[in-house]
Symmetry: C2
Subunit: 109 residues, 2 copies
DNA sequence: TTGACATGCAAGTAAATGCTTGCATATTAT
DNA sequence: ATAATATGCAAGCATTTACTTGCATGTCAA
């Protein structure tokens, strides 16, 4: 699992919107997805390719139609590898930062 | 909170490494952070600026030294706004996808 | 006060990114 | 068989991104 590809895929608002579309309705075709987007079909294709390479979207061919399915596993991976880790001691970190900031400006107890 | 800036800030491996550095030791100066990185000080500065604009890092000036602190709140925001949402029904989604894939190749019940 | 240290500012550049357009291919429907 | 539909491939282009280098500024210490 290339976590860098996942982060890069998520970095673009259009791609996040595509994920949202697939979340609201699973298995949409390329043209169906294009209808919500204000850009050429090729642009959407290229975004979907990046999502596919990041394993965030899985493709199923059905005749000439290309169906898109959301795969939430990489998102979960980001959670366990990145968010959970920093979440740990979240309140402590904020508390320490706050104290440091306050101590820098005044001597509030 | 500009979630796009957060995603974009996280999209770069160098910036994620900087966050890791700050996670392992809080309140490091710019030069301290530079020691771990294989690029010019200015490059690191620019990365840290993006992290700051995304609110992932908070700065505290102490004389001529610039101390960097990690702020985990935006990460938590990503979790609640993006991951949790897709997490919901994670197993279902996988199950459906699997069924669809199997149904496409054979007629397994 | 002078020199060393920590950082900022800004211009320049190579590579990556997002998008378009034109044409090609494969599948379905009439 | 032919036309319409769904998609792919590839070249081209403008913008953004990551990085460097050179110089300027502010702070601390001898």
């Amino acid at each position: 699992m290339d976590i860098d590809k996942v982060f890069k895929a998520l970095a673009d608002p259009t791609r996040r919107r595509l994920l949202d579309q697939l979340h609201s309705e699973s298995g949409q075709t390329l043209t169906a997805l294009c209808e919500h987007m204000d850009m050429s079909r090729q642009a959407v294709t290229q975004h979907l390719q990046q999502l596919e390479e990041a394993n965030l979207v899985a493709i199923v061919w059905q005749g000439r139609e290309k169906l898109h399915y959301l795969n939430p596993v990489p998102l979960h991976e980001i959670y366990t590898r990145w968010i959970e880790k920093f979440e740990h001691g979240r309140l402590d970190a904020l508390h320490n930062l706050k104290q440091r900031l306050e101590g820098d400006d005044n001597d509030k107890t």
